[in-house]
Symmetry: C2
Subunit: 411 residues, 2 copies
């Protein structure tokens, strides 16, 4: 039972796979208050100017700048205070030559005035008069109409993940309801393997282990913005697997089968996928460690992944292929928060022609991030507990030397 | 109306504040499947050994290692195949000297055997015999009982944010229900400012603007693991603010008031907080930009924050104080994903004695992260849209030079 499959570099595998994926997640609308982390379905433009009126950026007096030219501590300008601009209302006062009006930060600059003098640069003189001790230029301390954003300007591009500040930007323009976003991709998860037992369903018999990949992959999906449904454990029989996959395909955006760990079960997964439609299996084997025996397939234009049964391999391979596939289905990239650059804290040997992903702990050394390999057998889940992420040793390198920069995908 | 308050460095301010915070978020239990991102309320220990039985890590033949010593291509060891180990069942076969049994990855190593020869290092000989072409050492390709985790070993410490692999680790041990986690802190958000209007409630009048801080801060809370409730806009009247804060305090873990932008309204916030109890306002002014006029207070042992009304200042200051406070209430640290190290892509001037937070876009240059400042007036929300995070210019520096390393808090 030797393994006969063509092993492809991860990037080549991904391209071969994505070239056949024609399906995309659907669209829906949500409230701006619920839009955090969602992906915009189309570019969003501004319906109006922001600010919509001239606003003061300081507390002080709004004036005609020309009245303050040449003012100084020793030779102040004297202005008549003709009123106060109330917050949240149109300025009722009008400011003419030789006049000033009290204004607060965010207040509407009244007609006639073209600048604001900070209160610190004024002092009271007589009853209704102030001294201005410093000149202001026209427009100084004033936000002009549309200075933040102009009508019809694109405020968020299509395929953009909504961040906290974007929620604020939408609300600032009154865009509260009906924000067009991509639906969360629906991922269907299946585990095969006669040794597997659903966690929490009684005592294990000798030789049995609990299915943990469903939970791990579901968590990775949630973090990537998808909703994963655990379909449970499928017996190691081709027809059983065929049946559940066929039933789930129409209602899923991505199918994931975690294959039992033996070669025969993996081959069964590939065979069943090929029976389900064209093009079927496109990649069977990736030049990466851990996780080499990974299957990438397409059915009905939708991506299908066959993961190795080993929990560490499954997690690494889903990070490498599943998480980007979820972003791809949504028309966006993997979240920026998911990786950092760091320097290898030790020599990490690898083999040229193979991309290694090594569990690491991140350490901050005088403002630089270093990645220290976590030791332990590579296929044990507890090696990953306590690791901060996976350091990539690129395909074309025979390893990283201590001090080399590398890319760490964060857990 | 000059501002009279003592301005403290951010770290000093935070310490003075936290020293008085005695309250913590409560505890609850959740399913391991819902535990992603939650914080453990206490250390979790393993109820059993993992693996619970000796497992093969490869496909091959399980043997007595001593039978293979000296085996080579030219001088193979000959063994009798006495059966196959079925997946998910106790090994029914027994392996004695001169014998082997077919075994799959994850299969239970039967009594008598102490190693597994990879199938690639064997070949069929006659009917029930195989040739072993390479020796194995005792224990080779076998996971021993408890090699991943031992009974009573601490698997997750208290105050740990549950990651995808931790979900897998819990499930692997059958820890499905009743995972002890900290409750999501309940944050109550209030906005004051007579110029503010709830977004989505009709046309703005001149001088009015929409309240966007509630939405932005709510999003930051969600990302930090808290649940924020927007209480809406409070009139600029001390008694109105007193009433809503007093009502919310018992049912909140953190109170946040976004003050109107004028000095008088900020002072009102401080006055009302001080009327509500001891110690009240501990910090009124932080040596940081943007966001200097920030209030940090404690009521009933709970943290209270008064944020500046400007949306950018409010966002930066909540990132600086609110997000760590949420982590503090849960007995943990800010998520690792929230910051990266990067090099300044341009000179960034600052003033010694002030901590600046500059919106930046992150750029990858040959494996190193660089932070390029986003230009624009610092108090406009659309300056932040399109930025990836905030680069910190430390208190004791007069700026960062291009190429200097700095810390970027990600949006």
């Amino acid at each position: 039972m030797p393994e006969f499959f063509e092993v492809l570099p991860p990037d080549v595998a991904r391209t071969r796979w994505w070239n056949q994926v024609t399906h995309r997640a659907g669209n829906e609308t949500v409230s701006a208050y619920d839009a955090l982390g969602r992906v915009t379905a189309r570019a969003i433009t501004s319906p109006e100017a922001l600010p919509a009126f001239r606003r003061s950026t300081v507390d002080g007096y709004t004036v005609l700048a020309a009245d303050t030219f040449g003012a100084s501590d020793s030779l102040p300008a004297y202005l008549d205070v003709v009123g106060e601009v109330p917050m949240g209302q149109a300025a009722a006062v009008q400011v003419a030559k030789g006049q000033a009006a009290l204004i607060h930060t965010g207040g509407m600059v009244p007609p006639g005035a073209d600048a604001v003098v900070m209160v610190e640069h004024t002092q009271p003189f007589t009853g209704d008069q102030i001294e201005v001790l410093k000149p202001v230029a026209p427009g100084e301390n004033v936000l002009q109409v549309g200075e933040d954003v102009l009508p019809d300007a694109e405020i968020l591009p299509a395929g953009h993940r909504v961040q906290p500040q974007d929620v604020g930007a939408l609300l600032a323009l009154g865009l509260v309801d009906d924000i067009p976003v991509v639906q969360r991709p629906r991922v269907s998860l299946f585990s095969t393997g006669d040794e597997l037992v659903v966690p929490g369903t009684g005592t294990l018999q000798p030789g049995q282990i609990r299915d943990i990949n469903s939970g791990t992959i579901q968590a990775l999906c949630a973090r990537a913005g998808a909703e994963a449904r655990i379909h449970g454990i499928v017996p190691d029989q081709p027809d059983a697997l065929y049946e559940v996959l066929a039933a789930a395909l129409p209602e899923s955006d991505l199918l994931v089968v975690t294959a039992g760990s033996s070669v025969s079960v993996r081959d069964m997964t590939a065979d069943v996928i090929n029976r389900l439609g064209k093009p079927g299996v496109l990649v069977h084997g990736v030049a990466a460690r851990p996780g080499k025996p990974t299957i990438l397939a397409v059915l009905a234009g939708k991506p299908v992944i066959g993961l190795p049964g080993n929990p560490v391999s499954a997690l690494v391979m889903f990070t490498l292929f599943g998480v980007p596939a979820i972003a791809y289905l949504m028309g966006t990239d993997v979240p920026r928060q998911m990786w950092v650059q760091a320097r290898a804290a030790a020599n990490i040997p690898s083999a040229a022609g193979r991309e290694d992903h090594v569990p690491v702990r991140l350490v901050d050394r005088e403002g630089e991030l270093w990645a220290a390999p976590v030791f332990g057998k590579s296929n044990l889940i507890f090696t990953l507990v306590g690791a901060d992420g996976l350091l990539k040793v690129p395909l074309n390198k025979t390893g990283l030397r201590a001090g080399d920069w590398g890319e760490v995908t964060l857990f």
